[in-house]
Symmetry: C2
Subunit: 70 residues, 2 copies
């Protein structure tokens, strides 16, 4: 069926930013960012996604990917 996978790790390592700091700068709780980071959410608001892209200075495609199976 394929699914959407969020991959924050790479960019976070690249930008040398911790989860707590990213959460603060993005403007959401670290608890929720942890969920997002570990693919425990099934949707995301564009405002949140935009804030993440802004702080991490990256494109949507850098953190969201479509993973098809088979």
């Amino acid at each position: 069926m394929g699914k959407i996978v969020l991959r924050l790790d790479r960019m976070m390592v690249e930008r040398k930013i911790s989860l707590n700091e990213l959460a603060e700068r993005v403007g959401i709780s670290n608890v929720n960012l942890s969920k997002i980071k570990n693919n425990k959410v099934t949707a995301i608001r564009f405002s949140t996604l935009a804030a993440i892209c802004k702080v991490l200075e990256c494109e949507v495609g850098d953190i969201l990917e479509y993973q098809k199976n088979d």
Copy 2:
């Protein structure tokens, strides 16, 4: 502040698929797909996004982009 923009048009033209057909194959109403296509939504479910990517045979970055403004 920057925002997320959905761009379905390009891929739809490229795949030569109408909004009604895409809606049907994605599994959502044409009304909602129209909203998505015209950026009238503020969030999206990964299941919907994955279905769109599947039908259009594309990556997330092909239809979702972060647009920063100065």
